[in-house]
Amino acid sequence: MTDPVLRLENIVKTFPGVRALDGVSFSVMPGEVHALMGENGAGKSTLMKVLGGIHQPDGGAIVMGDTPVVMAGPLEAKAKGIVFIHQELSLAEELSVAENIYLGELPRKSFGRVDWARLAERTNSILKKLNVGFDARTRVGDLSIANQQMVEIARALTVDAKAVIFDEPTASLTDAEKVVLFDVIADLKASGVGIIYISHRMEEIFKITDRISILRDGQYQGTVNTAETTEEAVTQMMIGRKLDLSRNASHHELGNVALQVRGLSCGKLYSDVSFEVRRGEVLGFYGLVGAGRTEIAETLFGLRDPSSGQILLDGEEVRISSPADAIARGISLVPEDRKGQGLVLGMNCRDNMTLPQVDDLKAGPFMAEGAEVAIFDQYRDKLDIRTPGWKQRVGNLSGGNQQKIVIGKWLSMHPNVLIVDEPTRGIDVGSKSEIHKLLRDLAAQGYAVIVISSEMPEVLHVSDRIVAMYSGRIMRTFTSEEVTEDSLIQAISGLGGDKAA
């Protein structure tokens, strides 16, 4: 039996008031792909920072070979052969591939001149191993995200890597690009490197990993062999209960048509779009990124002018000129980019939540702060937002709680039509199911809800009807009874599927 390349023994890390890691132990064998799973806030990032020498553990040991090691800093971790491929790439776009890979260690000639020939040669020999379609001199800014990631991996290969840690590597990759990445991981594995693979995506975990270690609230939940477990079992270990992802059509009576769109077009973004949403109904929009779904939502919210077509609210044609106008007409939009569009991260929870109605919450010339706190308290309880109090900066909350603040912000406006763009992007599994349930409940309470999502299980789970879009057009509208995964995929790929009448 071979020794593990890396063994963690009872790692403990506390921050003021939080036990971020509480006795985490697992080991990575050479040639193994080891998944690390857990909800946001479970301690994965902290654990990786301990491994990378950014945090020092308060207890326990990191063992490489037979000897406990101390990672005094990032450089030392790298020198010991622990290499990170981060979710967010850290490359200099204006420099060449070769310069990025050997940044700080460029080969030199006399008088400190860079030895370009040797640099290109070394780089190309690494790139060859990765089997990529670009060379050492390519400018990094000209590469796709997937190829930039390959540059990061190439950089990892310049040191004698013992363990390579991938942090959500597929977050921004297309399916074809994923295949290439998985090939590279397989090669690394074959060369005897130990791999830690962090991801939320079950399919990938089950496709490429050998074992899975699970964290929950900083505590180690155990390690299982991937071949001997199921998605349900892993999810249950992560969240401590079962997750419901069944289909969900409404059983209550639907109300009148709240929003109707007829032949709406907006330049090249989308054209001839028609649909309607009733009160009490969740209408799902499914399609690839760039299919025009977000642009439709932005048009309905007054952020884009349509070039032709009609928008009717409660049967009456309207022209929506600005977000303020949309809000006044009872349309709310939970945008897709929570941090960029949904929240002012430096502001506190209460002020974020009441932002769209600041002009209405007045006592004389001043803000009615008591009324604001009351609104915050109401939606904190209703949505189960976990925060120490309304004074907390929103930037300090977890992704799930941030999203609930945004949803609360718009629910407190009592909208007629609630549009939710990517309701659970970047949110952990537990909060995800809470938000799904919330969306269903809102429909049951009589809201007309539009959900835009790129995740098929999500659209299938929450929607009563599903609009499938491809390249700016509606290909087909499904009811939840008739929809199948296959027909949905065909429709959004532009294959088959008749255009809805």
């Binding site: 003021p16 919210f301 952020l303 600005s322 977000p323 303020a324 949309a326 809000i327 939009l333 945008p335 960029g340 569009q341 949904g342 929240l343 002012v344 991260l345 430096g346 502001m347 002020d351 932002l355 769209p356 600041v358 002009d359 919450l361 007045k362 010339p365 001043f366 803000m367 912000k409």
Partner: protein, 339 residues
């Protein structure tokens, strides 16, 4: 090791023993500006006993009033995520205009006319930065020069003087006192209270923070971003006009360059107060503290016998220190390779 430095290091160890580094960092981050102010005041009082006498304090506050009034307006602009480097030359404009009109139409009409003209300049900048979304640094740096040209054109390059300096009530804004307190100080305090309330307590103030904190998110919440920025520049111009009024009334005559360079002092005061240049943070109260620190430092340097000109260098050093301490308090270290 000298006795003094050994004592200092003993003291340091003593403090470190009772407070962990993290606690020190947290306190510095929250109250750094007040602590710095206190340390500074104590040091200068020890160096020169005249420093903390009521006469000197009153004189410092009075001479800070003009910078202070402008800093109040610039605080709005900075919190909204923009800069205003035109306030110095805009103040020269206000001063020259009101002095000129004083003799032509009398102070009662001259004052509102000057305010209207200054607000037009503010509206123009607000239009360029708010509605056309042009970079505020470029716009206001350009306006610094353009308004200077405008002032010179208006005055024909001549100094402006009121003909009858003894017989006008116009001097009240710069030279008068009420209840023993100089009027400029009263104006500064009243305006600070008014604008402080507007910023901290009204819907408009909330919008300023939202627009500066995340303009896109503000837009997605239905906040009129352009109008909010526009209004901030109007407020800034109104403050500049007030400052110009005080200046004109104090001297009853002026050169075309009276406000030259003040934009940097104003900005220094606002940054010293801890408003982030990225927008979204800062308060009127902190700006007032920043103004006072700047005023007392300049006064203190004079009292210890340094030349007046030294203050130009010192102002810059203070800006750098303030920015550095601010960022160091946020990351808990004086220097860091990342962020």
């Amino acid at each position: 090791m000298s006795d003094a430095s050994r004592n200092a290091s003993d003291l340091r160890e003593g403090i470190m023993a009772t407070l962990s580094r993290q606690q020190v960092g947290a306190i510095l981050a929250r109250q750094g500006i007040l602590i710095a102010f206190a340390v500074f005041m104590i040091a200068f009082t020890l160096a020169n006993p005249k420093f903390l006498t009521p006469d000197n304090v009153l004189s410092v506050v009075r001479s800070s009033a003009i910078i202070g009034v402008m800093a109040l307006g610039v605080t709005f602009v900075v919190i909204s995520g923009n800069l205003d480097l035109s306030v110095g030359s805009m103040m020269s404009f206000s001063t020259i205009v009101v002095l000129d009109l004083h003799d032509k139409m009398g102070p009662l009409l001259a004052i509102p006319a000057m305010f209207a003209m200054t607000l037009c300049l503010g509206a123009f900048i607000g239009f360029l930065v708010g509605y056309l979304r042009l970079n505020s640094l470029i716009v206001t740096l350009g306006m610094l020069s353009a308004i200077h040209g405008l002032t010179l054109t208006y005055s024909g390059g001549q100094n402006m003087d009121i003909a009858d300096k003894e017989g006008t009530w116009f001097s009240i804004f710069g030279q008068g006192t009420a209840l023993g307190i100089p009027v400029p100080i009263l104006i500064f305090v009243a305006l600070a209270a008014l604008l402080g309330l507007a910023l901290a307590k009204t819907p408009f103030g909330r919008k300023v923070y939202a627009v500066g904190g995340n303009g896109t998110a503000a837009t997605f919440s239905g906040i009129p971003r352009a109008r909010t920025v526009f209004t901030c520049y109007l407020i800034s111009a109104a403050c500049v006009a007030t400052a110009g009024l005080i200046q004109a009334s104090r001297s009853l005559g002026s050169q075309n360059t009276v406000g030259q360079g003040l934009e940097l002092e104003v900005l220094a005061a606002v940054i010293l107060g801890g408003a982030s240049l990225l927008g979204g943070s800062g308060t009127i109260f902190k700006t007032v503290i920043g103004v006072l620190i700047l005023g007392f430092i300049q006064n203190g340097l004079l009292l210890v016998g340094l030349q007046f000109y030294v203050q130009f260098v010192v102002t810059w050093v203070i800006i750098i220190l303030a920015v550095w301490l601010d960022i160091a308090a946020k990351r808990g270290k004086l220097w860091s390779p990342i962020a």
